[in-house]
Symmetry: C2
Subunit: 116 residues, 2 copies
């Protein structure tokens, strides 16, 4: 797979093939924070509905999220982190630290990151 | 600025406003690895030329990269990491670790990440 990437073959590029879209990482953040249903991920990310649906489908295909049935009739399922998804939490942590230092100009942001 | 973001206001979303595009992070990786000129960043990322030009302009505007003149006639400048840009290295490190574990299926990727 590395050899199919444009540019320098490296694990960073390979990772960004999977999560190199802001909505993908924000969806992972939401699921990590406890938003498992589509409507909750939609509200938490603020993503356009169809882009979010496409990203979630990609993340399931990539093994970052998995769908679990929670209701039989009508059949419904929600999103959970796989082990690979759980492993993205340090990436979110690094982005959080950077964002807090360099991209936030309001000090009130801190508590927003606690799980709901 | 947080309050202007869609969805949950948080430093991760604020960070992704700046670096939530794969070409942006790959450009930062290239400059970090010593590719300072546009043509080298272009080759190292494999990005489409006009998208890379737009991302570099955004990264300079956001204070992640800075341009430094290296030649007088004709005037030319290249790209360097600012302190904010340098601070993205842990984000790249987290993505590298994740990519190596979950997105790379070839073991040969290791040495590609050393600075040139």
């Amino acid at each position: 797979m590395l050899s199919e990437l444009p540019g320098r073959p490296c694990p960073i590029a390979a990772a960004l093939e999977v999560v190199g879209d802001r909505w993908a990482l924000l969806a992972v953040r939401e699921v990590h924070l406890g938003a498992h249903r589509f409507s909750d991920v939609l509200a938490g990310t603020g993503a356009p509905r169809d882009r979010l649906a496409a990203r979630l489908k990609d993340l399931v295909a990539a093994g970052v999220l998995e769908r679990r049935p929670y209701q039989d009739s009508p059949p419904r399922s929600d999103y959970h982190l796989t082990e690979a998804g759980q492993d993205l939490v340090p990436v979110l942590g690094a982005l959080k630290a950077w964002g807090r230092r360099w991209a936030v100009d309001e000090p009130a942001a801190e508590e927003e990151l606690s799980p709901r």
